[in-house]
Symmetry: C2
Subunit: 233 residues, 2 copies
């Protein structure tokens, strides 16, 4: 986290700078650098919710070369096919993995909202990443997605679903009996076909997959219904 | 892609609605739903770059129940620990996997910028996801990150690095010889220690890992330097 330098080159909209700062703060990144921001007053961006300190400590540069000078790896960002590129372009999923492995500070460069990174900016990059989208993204959102991917936990994705502890068969049968009692009192069960109705309801209840943790609540609900129906009769 | 309904409940800032629409358009999602948006004129949000059509076709509802009625799975979003939650909370990485597997339309709910989803909204959800951050995110950025994770290609992350074809040993040695020729003409090589200097330079060049595709350019550079140095002498 402490190795990454987010470098915004010639950003035009202070709201985007603030949004980038907020996303950095969300994910715990600290070092924001700006090359020739268009608005001088960017540090007051109201969109930097919870990131005022980070924005205050952002470093300003007048040349991309200076903003990346202390980095071991310089990675540019690009939207798809907006020019002929001389660099290897990697999908974010893969590029982020390589960035995490870098041994030294890593600069991640974002170009201006309107034009992206210039060819001169790009020539300072070792390689480029792109987010696989159909159209060009908002700057603040692009920064957020890159930082998310860098913070992403692949093990979290591979987790097995938590098993829901099912109610025991005895409890499920008790639930079925109470439901059938209720249905009988409501006149839902036709005495002539009661055997087949009972079996139908039994299967119906098994398909509910009643969780063990909920069974007592269901007993309470059915008890209350039975008590009320007894009053009615 | 066509199964997802992005549902913004009581969003306050039209810029965020537009940003959500833009992110949806970026990743190819189509169905935006709004429950009681605070601003009536949200459809004119300038932040919906390239997503005007999507925003125009957004559906409006006055109740969360109606906005999710046709969905097989309803997933809420929450920031960490902002209240005691009765739902299973899953990390986005894992929740997105479950959402992709759903058999039927999936609603993904986002609450208002200020308060998040209400307890009533949450009670319509099967479970919740959270983005693992240290503080609460901007709405437009949170939407973008969720859609990114849903569109993410896990195979792209597992890719092996592209092998860079290294220059052949013969070419590397030719490069070394040309460099040594240059260094001799510049007076860098002390004749008394020339043997050890040669070996040092040979090792130095091997550590460069010269790529095969660049070797001819390097020959050209060194040829030009040698030609110029011959003129000087």
């Amino acid at each position: 986290l402490d190795q990454l330098r987010v470098v915004l080159v010639a950003p035009r909209n202070p709201l985007n700078i603030g949004a980038a700062a907020r996303a950095m703060s969300n994910f715990g990144f600290k070092h924001l650098r700006l090359v020739n921001p268009y608005h001088v007053a960017f540090r007051e961006a109201r969109s930097a919710v919870g990131a005022a300190e980070l924005l205050a400590s952002a470093e300003e540069f007048t040349a991309t070369a200076d903003a990346v000078a202390d980095c071991a790896l310089v990675v540019g960002t690009t939207s798809i096919g907006h020019r002929e590129l001389q660099h290897p372009i990697r999908r974010l999923e893969y590029g982020a993995r390589l960035m995490r492995r870098a041994s030294g500070p890593v600069a991640l460069l974002f170009g201006s909202e309107k034009y992206g990174l210039s060819n001169e900016d790009l020539s300072h990059c070792h390689w480029l990443i792109r987010i696989a989208t159909e159209s060009s993204m908002n700057l603040g959102q692009a920064v957020a997605i890159c930082l998310y991917e860098l913070s992403r936990d692949p093990r979290a994705a591979r987790r097995a679903p938590e098993p829901v502890k099912p109610a025991q068969a005895g409890d499920v049968e008790r639930f079925t009996e109470m439901l059938l009692d209720t249905l009988r009192r409501c006149g839902y069960v036709n005495p002539r076909t009661s055997r087949s109705t009972e079996e139908k309801v039994r299967r119906l209840v098994r398909r509910l997959n009643l969780p063990a943790r909920d069974i007592e609540v269901w007993f309470g609900i059915l008890r209350q219904m039975l008590w009320k129906l007894d009053g009615v009769l």
